[in-house]
Symmetry: D2
Subunit: 410 residues, 4 copies
């Protein structure tokens, strides 16, 4: 059917079958209307052995072939005929050549002067800039005129994380999301993951939304903070507002405690809470002045957990700590995530996607939400190590806190 | 706009405002294109006082007026001009006069010979049959030729349950369903309700689906059984099959325990489980023979909890205990529900709706499901006392079992 | 880790990579704690070539090895060392030997006297019975004492449907379910599938729930019936009741048409509708007598579309046509499905799962529901050809009806 | 039970029963543990007459009574004993007295010098500032030291919108959200609402998310733009990126058109699209330069539809037009909404809540989403005129565009 005359030969190595990379490679070729011929395939003899494949790809236009090659890079494919990467100068700020290489979140190497160099600050949807000694990921908006930007697909290779079958005693579940699961099993996995990350010297970040408050998670989250399991809290304006509102008014007025219902539009305590913090100057000041005496934000301040509050278009107030300049907020998030080897996302799609975009694929991610569609969406975007848990967030935190002993913070 | 010449005067008494019955009455009048005039309205001076209203309704055809009157009966409205109820004979089996009165699930009284008599076996979507001494609800399919079937709206009055504002220390939540709630508060309410029902001599039924098994609820449900809180278990074929499969194969093969995943199509253990019970003859026999040694069904047998398994079109096997004749199954359900003053519905829309149809409105109902749409649907159909809880069923049972001490069974 | 001494060698052939069967085989081996060694692997050189694999499996108990082999059969694996299938007699009705072979919905062959014979009446969760000339699938409950039932995994091979990458110009989407899709693309695929099935002489069945009525699908479904695209309608009691209620009362009383809201508990027209059909004797009789003049059920009667109404525990009434004996209902469904090569499932999980259980995997299935969890659940159980569409059912039918011209019924 | 000694008398007038305001007032009193006594109640004799109530409230602390009075203001309650509003000076920027009055989105009047004055720029969660001639809503963050801020509940009255029963031929549905509805009925209502708004000289704003693109809504939305029905488009970064990506690459590469699937992580065309617009300088420049030739953003530029793109923490790029400073973005949204009398929200909870916070309650709002939980959440926050539609957004736009003729833009 295809009268292709344009060909390239690629190769890939790794756990090609269990990671489904081989399958994705074949799928992409067919989607593009190209054809492949397997030149060589060495299958791993056992579960621990890697496989190797060499494929000749043929398309009937050089553009299609080029697009196809770009699409195969994330699955570990590289040209057999190795060349150095090609860099071109950005002609103005924030603008790159049309043929720029857009990164994945996987470990990436660039060939320069015949040598393979690892790209630094790996994240997805960035460009790769040659800084002489180093090659680094840079966001499009941070590109300056004259930056040397990598173009094309020559001289790049990606080492995708393998969605492997429990090769290191760790079961991945991202294809296996359902509310009809035993949560206790997932909690045990998460607790184990947290221990492993800490043992390896990694930090643990939590990305959390106000549902943590509404579902009764305050005490359990505070317990995690006090036991030393939370290094970073990334959230928006709503969680701290509701947490502080609850700390200031929850027990005296008592409505929420008795009915279990957040009265969102009701008596405007959230505006009063913001006003109290504005008077104090900041959350930390309110704690220092003895105005704020309990709750998640209080405990974060007391236990030196760094937190970043990123604003959104829906925020009223906001708290004086909330960053309404998103460039600043994204950078503060990224800095806070440095050194984090695990991120637990609790019922906030917005901030979770924001964080997911910043992470290299080797950071472990856990997504918890009562809505299976949210968990699926986050797991789809994330790295191969994503563990999705569909359940009530308050009860999840209850279980998790009861499974974890106090530990030394990093 | 309406040139109505056909009028009737109705009245209603009760907590008309907080139950929203007055509102519903007005809505129905407007929907029908009729008009109302308030002849008299006495509002309750305090929260404990009842209100009284008298309304003149005018429509521009006698049919519309008649339909409208029928629609107002469930909200407690009755004709001011009191007449005896009218009965007509069924001309053949399963067939009633076109003008038959179709019941609600609320307490209903019929005027016969100038006296108001309470209808027995109250349930919804039934007809009312005059049996001389008694008037009773009868399902359409059970109507026999010659039965005296109540027609029209004369001589009937309904005493709806009030969705009242915590007049007896009991908070109703059916309009207030969300996954963003603190489950612990709901669990405490359910536990309190169970204590109250028991204290009043009522039985407690559970309607449960296989999600109880998949979410890890077996141990907690068994705990409730052993502590004496389960009088009746109404379910289908899937819960017992998965429970027995788990009891027989769960620990030895171990896959499920380690991964938390039900392997539905996998190794066909559910067919093996059915086969084992078929060999024994029944679930009770399997327990007696020592073949079935643990799990929900085992504990029900050991603790004399009566259970009814109603088949469905999706059932394979089924177990020898599963009733595939639905007439028989509905009657067995109805018999098992006699004396039950509370029903807890756990993640099975099908059986829950089936049970809901059979219950008078004064039986308390709790619906638990992780999908808010299911809880809303069940709460909408149910009685005013329905409490909806959106959460993980396994974790809910965990919490509930830990809140309840052993008690004496009825 | 595994000190395995028990080994068998298996082989499989087909589109092993794109169908993910190879991956599933490896997964199962690891899950069981066994090990594999690839003895031979020939990869298909191009997308049209099949692959072939030979694997040595080793486990540390004969039971684990046996269980593992059973689990690999559905992916096309068979023992290299070919033996005849083994049959044992059932010792009593409905009971089979513990080691029985439980079927998949894929094409299956049994080795008898050295010859491979195709199993008849293929369906899942059945046993295979030797009838001399033929080997057939039989439901557990239909097994009679003395029936020769296949046991073990020797002498069986399964030919799974391939979830292939558009090898025949047909894109499968079952792993790709989301509400964020362009429905028009899916509708075009479904219409194309319907044309292909008809061109090949196949019948088309629809499994539909009452949501078809509530979302305004009556006219469009009737259009499909009149254009000749519906051979069989499988449903429960609710769809015909609501359809008939609408046909009888929808336009005169008019509430629903104006508000778009089904008034489920409201004026009890559904009980009146059932009563009208009971008077007539059946739906067909009501059409004949001129009582029922429009709607889906009317059009089915007029255009000789066979329909089967299977009861459920939630059904009131029911209509005289509704089968309340589920054994009878399942058999009527199965008979109606004979010759159907395509099934369109519209918003009814219960009946759809029931139908899915009866179908061999080569029947094409389309699932339409506004709830992604339902589509995922159905697609997971179904055959490889399942196409899932997450959308509004009424609008889907609108689009589908407008895409299809009248055609000759089979 | 309550030993209350603190009392106030309030009154309210309006459609108190059908709007449920009376019910809400009673509920709040009971929730607070206070008691009420009805001093006077005049019920509207017909559906068009208003009702009037006077209530004596008694609580056992002055704080509870004060809180309760604040909570009753949104339902139209005011003190019988009329006093002027009390203003206090803000002691520093962004900080108000603790007893400040927090606004609702309803029409509000303030008593000053014995005269009732209408508050300007009505929106919720604001404070009321006395500017001498005028009293205005001001956001907390915009309060400057010395501003005269209204405190307490004296001298304020709110005129809530009535959730009335079709008094002006308009059926409200916000309590009546379900996917089991006939969408065509809802579309007809929306179209009618759009005609009415235009006839009254109002503008129409659309708040839209990228699901509009993914579900195939581009052509239909463009149709609405070209027909003159869209005055303002409020969105984020994702909709324009995907729209432009589709305009630039959708047809040539063609993958999406054939499969109906957005390949979000795939070939990075969204980064290419951003780069193209960055080269041009802005979306409008790209249209002018002939680089961008079709799609929603193109049509908005060509037809002078004003659009505002508000950034979020998840945005990559972003487009040069996207506002990453949220203070600026919120102000741009608010300016764009001036003169809008109707807002249609299409599948974006984030931006929809942001817009909802800015609107006075008399702006009509329509929310469309396939997820019922989103529609419920938006409807709950919104004004009484909110119409919720649970359906596929692409198909909704298809239906809506086909129902509307070209019209003159305001």
């Amino acid at each position: 059917m295809v009268e292709g005359k344009y060909s390239e030969t690629i190769q890939a190595e790794g756990h090609l079958i269990d990671s489904q990379h081989l399958n994705h490679i074949f799928d992409k070729v067919i989607e593009r209307g190209a054809v492949y011929e397997v030149l060589r395939f060495d299958i791993g003899k056992t579960n621990d052995d890697v496989s190797f494949i060499q494929l000749k790809l043929t398309a009937n236009s050089p553009e299609i072939l080029r697009e196809l090659l770009k699409e195969l890079v994330p699955f570990g494919a590289q040209l057999v005929d190795q060349r150095d990467a090609r860099f071109e100068a950005a002609v103005k700020d924030r603008c790159v050549p049309h043929d720029f290489y857009s990164t994945t979140n996987h470990r990436t190497q660039i060939r320069k002067g015949g040598r393979w160099i690892e790209v630094e600050h790996q994240r997805m949807d960035a460009v790769v800039v040659d800084e002489g000694e180093r090659v680094v990921c840079r966001k499009l908006r941070d590109v300056a005129r004259g930056d040397q930007v990598m173009c094309g697909v020559e001289g790049v290779r990606v080492v995708p994380e393998y969605r492997e079958r429990d090769r290191h005693g760790f079961a991945f579940m991202s294809n296996d999301i359902s509310s009809e699961r035993r949560v206790e099993v997932s909690v045990a996995k998460v607790a184990k993951m947290m221990h492993e990350v800490r043992a390896a010297g990694g930090k643990i970040a939590f990305v959390a939304g106000p549902v943590v408050i509404h579902t009764g998670g305050i005490d359990y989250f505070c317990d995690l903070v006090r036991k030393g399991w939370v290094d970073v809290l990334l959230t928006g304006n709503a969680l701290p507002v509701h947490d502080i509102e609850y700390a200031l008014y929850g027990t005296s007025l008592g409505v929420d405690l008795q009915t279990g219902s957040p009265v969102e539009e009701g008596h405007k305590n959230h505006m009063r809470a913001i006003n109290v913090i504005s008077h104090a100057g900041s959350i930390a000041e309110a704690v220092k002045q003895g105005v704020l005496k309990q709750g998640i934000m209080h405990d974060c301040v007391k236990h030196d957990v760094s937190f970043v509050l990123a604003g959104s278009i829906r925020d009223d107030g906001p708290l004086p700590d909330t960053l309404m300049d998103l460039i600043e907020a994204q950078e503060a998030y990224a800095r806070a995530l440095e050194g984090c080897k695990m991120v637990v996302m609790l019922s906030t799609m917005l901030h979770s996607i924001g964080v997911g975009n910043m992470l290299p694929s080797w950071v472990r991610v856990v997504c918890v939400d009562i809505n299976p569609a949210v968990v699926t969406k986050l797991a789809d975007r994330g790295s191969a190590q994503t563990l999705g848990v569909v359940t009530d967030v308050g009860l999840f935190l209850h279980q998790l806190a009861s499974k974890l002993e106090p530990c030394a913070r990093k």
